[in-house]
Symmetry: C2
Subunit: 442 residues, 2 copies
């Protein structure tokens, strides 16, 4: 009998290893042809590996010319000799001894992905997504995104949270019936969850602290630069809190951890994209009403809607806190009850507002969170006040009827957070395959 | 202006800290009342915290009786004095000085969750899921599940994989039209993805190595102990492979890493559930046809379907390799082309079978994987042979037309893996809120 014993036998030269090779060492590199340049006596074949570009050199007196058979997009396995070369990327190149063509591209690429900046419209990029992302700057944004999710999980594991997976198909959802995609589930009407809210609250009764990173679905008829109809939500919920500030603190703790992780493990991508990480050491907080008045006064703006923040108002709040406190983030607290869902806890000192918050990052809301009602009777009353029924909420309500700790939590939009961090103009830049009102493919 | 500066100010006594307290030290513990026992002079109030049970003791000469106001399910904040006590769980108890009731349960619980083993039918447990999982053994399974997902990500990050998020709503899917949930997407017909297959292949052209952990949806009309209609798939896909054995090796590497992580970080749960971790140091592999014949011969069984494995056959293969090689896992390779999807690469030496595999764990398939076709022309031919059309696959095919490395990958069913590891009878035990043909709630 033969056995598989793990990774032994798979050996690949990784990028860093290549850079550390001594001059004259034989090395094998695999990668896709990023560009080919024929200089007469020699040809430069730049390979794109997952970690960066590597210059390989074909000397015509060593081997016969390659350019007639090597094209952009081909995947190669190159054996060669490492050599220090000041003009090469990372000051290292590979002098080719032999090339094995692993696969070939049948046509020249429709996008100039080998260019440093892919100067193509968003529309064109999305229409060739799998190709456009081969551009090294384009793909770097998604490495940054990985860092943000990874930091979220790592930080919360450390804080004693349990990771959960809640169903995306359901019979009823947190915030009533609007804005939900409907489907047929074995001949029964069903919906796609717009949030794991009710599930994560139920799980506070089990694990005390839980988190989930997964897709949520919103059938909102928005067509803006900051809305997606399917996105990744970074959700956490925690019991035994003293106030909703504990949630803000946990989120601030995450952001600090995330920036540190990006700094240490994603330095290459930060440089490539020219990102300056935001200041998260201290995040100011301000009440909703006060925030409204501060910007109305400073920027001479009329308050039109007292119950919500208009996008322009969010931008101005961001601007205000940048100018006054050099703060990139600001917690806006005590949102009006009218605009918050049934499970939000009202402020006992003023029931017109809730013990909840939004976190703005450079003027865009990236998180909604707050304390939730934990008392069963209070929750039932609130459901009635909101004109909802208990139907479909039986198991959710049982979690409260049989005791649950004071708790709260928050939901972070991963793509929004990425967008603000990398300074993208449009949220579609930060979703591999965005779903919006007109885009369902690929 | 006031600022949030991360976690400072949130101090909770964690379980391990409590166990390490010296006798006489004052400590604050928060938790839910697991049980109350009145012994006359003293009362034992067992608290359930996220990390385990803690015995607290109310001495009647120290404080007035608590039992008339403390009930199972209440959440408490207890201040007391730590004391070594041989008969208490973990040989440590807390002598109560004062109690703050954080929230109250309005009724006795409908399930005896305070019992060691929750001897209740699966049906009853699922009907009170949020309560049943409060039982310490019930919830432990999901901590093990966390370890499995966490290990998957940690291991693949180390191996240079990039984490991706692909859309769950789409216009068309990997394996054609059957078995998919249909929905309306802004008046256009759409489906829920039954696998991230096509997306992860496209992303091989971008990041070389990618993985995703997310929900997949299958509208299969199965009602068995090992099928769910929504489950979590642990998917990876990697470029520059030499053969499909590289995929097996990567998966074996993951399993080794996962068992180590469970051993180190989930020891408490392993003990609680009495789990003996499987042997993953070496995993045998056997060709599909050979496996069929081996068990037909040894267990005197007729081969009925030459193109697929019946569940009973999988069980017998598991049994065979357990008996012959003390192996818990076995890779069954070279599945018939007839039963594999269009993207599977045929074996060049025998086109009736593919360079693919299933991984069986104690006789149940937990993974499907293999090498994929990377040549554009070959792929187009295969699509035609399978009677499919290129419609809807344009962007997918472009990833091949413009060059992609030889690659392969696999998809692991998280709930199946958990089920076999913890020895559950039914896969529904391993999904927080299972979705099956009849269960859409809560």
């Amino acid at each position: 009998m033969e056995f598989i014993k793990g990774l032994e036998g798979i050996t690949r030269t990784r990028f860093q290893e290549f850079l550390e090779k001594a001059d004259g060492e034989e090395t094998i590199i695999e990668g896709a042809v990023h560009s080919v340049r024929d200089m007469g006596e020699i040809e430069f074949i730049i390979l794109r590996t997952r970690e960066g570009l590597i210059q390989t050199v074909w000397e015509k007196d060593v081997a016969t010319s390659a350019s007639h058979k090597i094209h952009e997009g081909d995947c190669l396995k190159v054996t060669g000799i490492a050599k220090t070369e000041k003009r090469a990327p990372h000051e290292k190149e590979l002098r080719i001894k032999s090339v094995e063509v692993l696969s070939t591209a049948s046509e020249p690429l429709p996008l100039p992905i080998g260019k440093w900046v892919l100067n193509t419209s968003l529309e064109a990029k999305l229409n060739c997504r799998a190709l456009a992302l081969r551009n090294v700057k384009e793909r770097a944004s998604f490495r940054i995104q990985e860092g943000l999710v990874r930091a979220f999980r790592e930080y919360l594991y450390q804080q004693g949270f349990t990771e959960i997976h809640t169903p995306k198909i359901g019979a009823k959802s947190a915030e009533g019936g609007a804005n939900m995609f409907k489907l047929s589930y074995f001949h029964r009407p069903a919906i796609l969850q717009q949030s794991p809210q009710l599930y994560k609250q139920m799980m506070v009764g089990v694990f005390e602290r839980v988190f989930e990173t997964g897709p949520v679905f919103r059938a909102e008829k928005h067509s803006t630069r900051r809305h997606l109809n399917e996105y990744i939500s970074l959700d956490f919920e925690m019991g035994y809190i003293d106030s909703f500030f504990d949630i803000c603190k946990m989120e601030a703790g995450y952001l600090k951890y995330a920036m540190k992780l990006l700094q240490s493990d994603y330095q290459k991508e930060l440089k490539l994209l020219g990102i300056t990480l935001p200041n998260v050491e201290q995040i100011p907080y301000v009440k909703f009403e006060e925030a409204k008045h501060l910007v109305a006064e400073k920027y001479n703006r009329k308050i039109r809607n007292p119950f919500d923040l208009e996008p322009e108002e969010e931008e101005l709040i961001g601007k205000y806190f940048q100018e006054e406190y050099r703060a990139d983030f600001v917690f806006v607290t005590h949102y009006p009850s009218k605009k918050r869902p049934f499970y939000a806890m009202d402020d006992p000192s003023d029931s017109r507002c809730t013990l909840s918050f939004d976190l703005l990052f450079k003027g865009v809301e990236v998180t909604t969170g707050g304390q939730r009602i934990h008392d069963y009777e209070q929750l039932v009353d609130k459901i009635e006040q909101k004109g909802m029924t208990k139907e479909g909420l039986e198991q959710y309500l049982d979690a409260f009827r049989f005791g649950i700790a004071p708790h709260g939590g928050s939901g972070i939009g991963l793509e929004r957070l990425t967008m603000q961090l990398i300074g993208a103009e449009n949220i579609r830049e930060t979703s591999l395959f965005p779903r919006d009102m007109s885009r369902l493919e690929p």
